[in-house]
Symmetry: none
Subunit: 162 residues, 2 copies
RNA sequence: UGACACCCAGUCAA
DNA sequence: TTGACTGGGTGTCA
């Protein structure tokens, strides 16, 4: 890995390096019978931390995206990281965690139309895992050829085949 | 058009044929700045009566739905129809015309909470146009793949872009 | 509180 | 192209 590549994985001003991870979910036959969900976590080329796993439980694209983010946070915690930048193409995950969850905790996890928040337990797990960590959520558009996202996508798709 | 198709556009018992029309409204950016409303009227495949128009005045989904119904009635009158079945996915329109309007006429067009009925003039136009006609209002669920409704929806969406 | 629409956004797929 | 996963919002009424 040359220094150019390293710079892509760490950012911050004034020499501070904040580790960056790309996460993505995949779900073959999403919304149909026999759907298969997988999650991908990409820390860098050939990084042994990289994850490509089949997701358990609910087999939907949203579950897959949420599970990928949760996995990355758990890994960061086990490495004693206290700051982390998570890049994902899911605005659902980002807004859920950074904007909607505060309200959900206060209103008993009800949607704007009065229904239950479907992925509540996954959001709660992410919330729990995030305690004590400084996490910055960053949106990356999908399928735009952005390296980290493409790699995470590949890992997720592989994971869904297991 | 085979007899199966014809049967879809005309109904009634004992050989009586009542023309059926599907109406729908659309409103891009409903409730936001720059909203654009359109209405669609579907009489049948490639029927020259079909309407796809931009709606004038108030740019809301309800105005669009009401305007579509009004248009269909005006068309029916100009063809000297005395009976008509109107299919719409708007319970607001159906209940407004068939249940609430009687009361509104008696109470000075006041809502249950004492406010003015917002779409009063559109309801009044429909009421006026309906004089002397036997109109049956029928609810069709939206986006359920029901042909007539889908076509009216498409026409309405097109209309909103003009 | 309920109901039916009309949208906005991003994914995941076939 | 069409469909599912999910959220936020307005339009309107009872």
């Amino acid at each position: 890995m040359n220094s150019g590549e390293r710079r892509r994985q760490f950012s911050g001003r004034g020499g501070e390096r904040i580790p960056t991870v790309y996460v993505d979910g995949s779900c073959k036959n999403n919304g149909r019978d026999g759907a298969k969900a997988g999650c991908g976590v990409f820390w860098g080329p050939n990084n042994p931390l990289n994850v490509s796993e089949r997701v358990s439980g609910r087999q939907t694209n949203q579950t897959a995206e949420l599970r990928a983010a949760h996995k990355a946070i758990e890994q960061a915690k086990s490495l004693n990281m206290d700051k982390l930048i998570i890049e994902t193409d899911s605005k659902f995950v980002i807004q859920g965690v950074t904007k909607w969850m505060d309200n959900w905790k206060q209103n008993g996890w009800k949607t704007a139309s009065g229904r239950d928040v479907v992925n509540r337990s996954d959001f709660e797990k992410i919330d729990q895992a995030s305690r004590g960590m400084d996490i910055q959520w960053k949106y990356v558009p999908g399928h735009q050829g952005i390296k980290g996202n493409e790699e995470a996508d590949r890992l997720a798709t592989e994971g869904s085949r297991k």
